[in-house]
């Protein structure tokens, strides 16, 4: 039981528990907090895999910006608990066992197919290597993503604004 294996098991347990909690909770805000726990556990796993840059980006961008956006939208829409409708008989007696079987089968097949792979160290350090790749080989997708972010900002602005008649009506009231 090396220290790496122990840390991996702890982080994997947190990730799986958080993921199960995301799909089992009834309030969406609890699902959001569980998903943040999953992302932090995954950042720890990225650190175990010696990718410090991606671990930091995961915490800052994914857990710190995207999930905060989710929480804002949940609070803005006042999303409450899901209604208690019982699952259909097909979903409960066929769907749930098939879902569990999907999990077990995926994990087993993926684990068995790659069981012969071992870790090899990369040539550069993680951050230096990624920056070399990003600004030399992948500079075109890198610049494209900046345009993509601009389009996303414009799209979100256009979608979320109210129609033009509404602000005038609100001003008259």
């Amino acid at each position: 039981m090396t220290a790496q294996l122990v840390i991996f098991l702890i982080l994997a347990a947190i990730a799986v528990a958080g993921a199960v909690s995301v799909i089992l909770q009834r309030e969406p805000i609890h699902s959001a907090i569980s998903l943040i726990a999953v992302m932090i556990a995954l950042a720890g796993l990225f650190l175990l895999l010696e990718s410090e840059f991606i671990a930091a980006v995961q915490i800052i961008v994914y857990a710190g910006a995207i999930m905060v956006l989710f929480v804002f939208v949940i609070m803005l829409l006042n999303a409450g608990a899901e209604e208690r409708t019982n699952m259909s008989r097909m979903a409960r007696y066929v769907g749930v066992p098939l879902a569990v079987f999907l999990l077990i089968e995926l994990a087993y097949q993926v684990g068995a197919a790659t069981s012969s792979m071992t870790a090899q160290p990369a040539a550069d350090g993680a951050t230096r290597g990624i920056s070399m790749l990003l600004f030399q080989d992948f500079v075109f997708p890198f610049e494209l993503t900046s345009i993509l972010i601009l389009i996303a900002i414009l799209g979100a602005l256009v979608l979320a604004q109210r129609s033009e008649g509404a602000p005038a009506q609100r001003a008259q009231q």
Partner: protein, 99 residues
């Protein structure tokens, strides 16, 4: 530390994301299951990058995170518009193309 452990964990997280996507009824929870699937794929990319000694996997994870951010922004804007028009976040009620 064999890489197949990380890949099996990634497969389990992806499967849980699929289960959440299929079984849940709240549209925001469905969206969060999509983000869970994206995170599982990120873990698989980083594990393979470590296994093959290359860094292209980590560069691709960088792009996946950026695209996920843009997708979350636009997707949540759509969710807000839908919630404003239908007054419900239940996907079973969002079943008409035109009100």
């Amino acid at each position: 530390m064999p890489i197949s452990y990380y890949l099996a964990l990634s497969a389990v997280l992806f499967g849980l994301g699929v289960i959440g996507f299929v079984f849940k009824r709240n549209i925001i929870t469905i969206f969060m299951s999509i983000e869970l699937m994206l995170n599982a794929v990120n873990l698989a990319f980083i594990a393979f990058a470590r296994a093959l000694g290359q860094l292209q996997g980590q560069v691709f994870v960088f792009f996946v995170i950026v695209v996920a951010a843009a997708e979350a922004a636009v997707g949540l804007a759509i969710v807000i518009v839908i919630a404003r028009n239908r007054q419900s976040l239940n996907v079973e009620r969002i079943n008409l193309l035109k009100l």
